[in-house]
Amino acid sequence: MDIYEKLSDEEIVEHIRKSDRELYSIIIKRYQEKLLRYANNLIKNEDKSRDAVQESFIKAFINLESFNTKKKFSSWIYRIVHNETLNIIKKYKLETPLLEDWDFADEENIEENFDKNDTKEKVEKCLKQLPLIYIEPLSLYYIDEKSHEEISDILKIPMGTVATRINRAKKIMKNICQKN
């Protein structure tokens, strides 16, 4: 097992597909914590997040042959968790409503106020109050440290939309964080 732990996700997937199903536990170990955190940021309920992540690992295993090993496994598994959490949000109507008192009037340079290093803490603190469409890219960008391209692949939205949503989310978050 130790030899396999040094392999990339995509290489492990190739081995699992060939015969060694046991190696799937390495994949689970690598991703469960990150995915649980991502799901919880979206759902805001630990039990339902755990169900979503577990169900996603099962779906990923069943559909492992549909994964293209030339692409990033992380984007693929995040996408599955994303879909699963959205299903739960729709099923239980868990979405955070859009706040009434936020605005985009402030045109100052947001980047100056939101340095990526210290923003991770701010994001974790304020994330729960944001609408879902902003939680998704913000959580992936700051907490999971995904690139715009990876976020685009996970959320299935164009890269330009990812950048716009992150920028808007920063503005809304700044507003919320300052009020708190």
């Binding site: 699992i16 799937y24 099962i58 295993f61 042959e65 164009p158």
Partner: protein, 153 residues
């Protein structure tokens, strides 16, 4: 490792060991992709043909001047062709949105682009006379006679 994380790993791995979950064979996904592609191509061809046919019917049966004879058009025009064309377009848009590249294109651009491409292709095919040629031969000739334009020769 926290208990809840250990639970996820154990639950998933137990189901794998017990054979409750199995990897679907590659063939399943290959067949799925082929069928989706065939579906997309079929809806595109159907929609293009229907657009060409609608134009052809207006030209041959009523003439461009007679477009104003709305009453005759409403009473005789086979509107189910338009319905098929619309269903074909909607199906085509839905199928194309299933492809991986589609999310990188703005959704509205994709829909408008698809509809425009079908209409333009329908016009071109009709201009080239492909519809006329098809209509003069079976099985299209029979279909025209029996279902689309009774009395068509």
């Amino acid at each position: 490792m926290s208990k809840e994380l250990k639970d996820i790993e154990n639950n998933v791995m137990n189901q794998i060991h017990q054979g409750k979950i199995k990897i679907k064979p590659k063939l399943y996904f290959i067949l799925g992709s082929i069928l989706t592609f065939i579906g997309l191509v079929s809806t595109i061809i159907t929609s293009i043909f229907m657009v060409g046919l609608i134009r052809f019917l207006f030209r041959t049966n009523y003439g461009w001047r007679a477009q104003y004879r709305l009453e005759q058009i409403f009473s005789e025009f086979p509107f189910w062709i338009i319905l098929i064309a619309i269903i074909g377009l909607a199906l085509g848009i839905w199928l194309i949105s299933k492809y991986d590249f589609s999310y990188k294109i703005n959704h509205y651009v994709l829909i408008v682009g698809f509809i425009l491409a079908i209409i333009v292709a329908g016009f071109i095919i009709d201009e080239m006379g492909v519809n006329d040629i098809l209509m003069r031969h079976n099985p299209m000739k029979n279909m025209m006679r029996n279902h689309i334009l009774p009395g068509y020769r």
